[in-house]
């Protein structure tokens, strides 16, 4: 039986007649990175807020670590690290002081822990600089430090790479992968940046208009992505005629546009088709094996 760390059943949130989240049934497996993907306003943050009890559901159920977080909040939430939207820290305090407050409130304040997480997120050099004077990237790093400081079993991260530079993104991505793969931490991460989720997640949930359209594993997703061969030829009409001669149907097995022919089936026979084109005197300028990317796949759902 699959061990789910987070499970929601028909979770909904209605704001003055508008369904911000509509009957979401989500399943986050233990030790996996679950990427929640969707446009701005798709309902990702509201869903995460409901998981963290910051927003009360209008309907449905939330189960975290097999229990109702409302009833067992003291048991469940200390095991969770989270970032929701803008990093929230006291502007008049330093990074260390902010983490000290959080550590003390969690009852596990340890200066070594704080220094260690500040090192992980490259914030050891900020010293006495106040949080109010941090750049957005530094704020985001501190939020990540606060989220992982208490060695949580589950991370709920809403757009955690916002404001980070490419190097920062790479570092955080590597860190999250390490936390998941080496320490078995379950991660629920949301983003509207498709490539980010594609690079990170083991399971992807597509959200649009408050609805969780699909939950799909990374492997399954790659199997589902459309693949095709693109030929760029000097004589499209002749190339089409050759394909038809080989019992291939237009619109079903292939399509064409301008100098390009798109082969959707019989992909493993592309070398044979190429040889035939050349034999018939067609100049083949390009042969590409193309694969639909996550962005194109996602666009198919939300349009």
């Amino acid at each position: 039986m699959v061990d789910y760390v987070i499970e929601t059943k028909d979770l909904s949130k209605i704001y003055s007649k508008k369904r911000a989240v509509d009957s979401v049934s989500m399943h986050v497996e233990k030790g996996k990175i679950y990427g929640l993907l969707g446009k701005n306003g798709a309902g990702k943050t509201t869903t995460m807020c409901m998981l963290l009890n910051l927003t009360y559901p209008s309907d449905g159920e939330v189960v975290i670590f097999g229990k109702d977080p409302k009833k067992y909040s003291k048991e469940i939430y200390p095991k969770i690290g989270s970032i929701i939207e803008t990093p929230g820290f006291y502007e008049n305090l330093t990074a260390y002081e902010n983490l000290k407050i959080i550590g003390k409130l969690r009852g596990n304040y340890n200066p070594r822990n704080i220094n260690s997480v500040l090192e992980i997120v490259n914030l050891t050099s900020v010293g006495s600089k106040k949080f109010g004077n941090f750049s957005l990237g530094m704020k985001q790093r501190l939020a990540i430090a606060a989220a992982i400081m208490h060695n949580p079993e589950l991370l709920i991260l809403d757009e955690p790479i916002n404001g980070l530079d490419p190097f920062g993104i790479k570092e955080i991505r590597a860190l999250l992968k390490r936390l998941s793969h080496e320490f078995g931490i379950t991660i629920l991460i949301s983003s509207h940046i498709l490539s980010e989720i594609e690079n990170l997640a083991d399971v992807i949930g597509f959200m649009d208009g408050g609805v969780l359209i699909e939950e799909i594993s990374r492997e399954e997703l790659f199997n589902r992505l459309n693949k095709y061969v693109e030929f760029e030829v000097s004589d499209t009409d002749l190339a089409v005629e050759i394909l038809k001669r080989l019992q291939l149907n237009e619109n079903e097995d292939f399509t064409f546009r301008g100098e390009k022919i798109f082969l959707h089936t019989h992909l493993d026979m592309r070398d044979r088709f190429n040889a035939m084109f050349v034999k018939e005197g067609i100049n083949v300028k390009k042969v590409n094996l193309c694969e639909e990317n996550l962005e194109e796949y996602f666009t198919r759902f939300v349009q």
């Binding site: 200390p78 929230g88 820290f89 006291y90």
Partner: protein
Amino acid sequence: MEFLKLKRSRIFLLSLVGAILPPLLMFIAVSAFGEGNTFKVLFTNVNMYMSALFAVLIFAVIMSYLFGREYNEHTLKTMLTIPVSRGKFILSKYVMFLIWIMILTVVTSLSTLIFGFAAGLDGFSLKVFIYSFAQLLFANVLLFLTFSPFVFISLFVTNMVPAMIGGAGLALVNLMVYGQSWAPYVPWVCPYLIASGEIAGYGTSITLSYGIILATFLVGLFVSYLYFTKTDVTL
């Protein structure tokens, strides 16, 4: 933890300046215009201006800052996901507010003492000082209870402007109401009237005034708790 949150806080420093302002104004009045020449008069005047006027405005700002900053600096979600229960969160703010008020009371009393000596006033005795300090402390603690509705305002409108306008408005109302026959029924005026003993001159029931203060506190507390525990956190 609430103390650490106030480290390097400008509002905290400004509130200290606010607490020194009534003694400073009275010092100027004494030095420049010769108004009152004893410590007793100085303390009485400072206590009146502080608890009936300045404190109302300062307390409104403090209360809205304590709650409002958790929204404005987006720290509320951080606190609640630790998790800190919503009830404990409100309670910690009330306690911090009370401690802050006590600090301001000490600052006002000590600065009055210093200004009194600087102005060369007569009649200082430890008894006068302790009596005056206790009077101001009592008035401020009663006033603290009447600020419970401001908690609700601070939770409902999370920036400091409405609280400041409300505080300034209340200070003006206090000025207008003070001396009127119905002053003992106004929650924000009666703390000073009770603490100073002036309420005896109104011929009204002191128990009723205490009841009004208590009712204001309880209604404010109940409404704030209900609102805070039933409402989604604004991000």
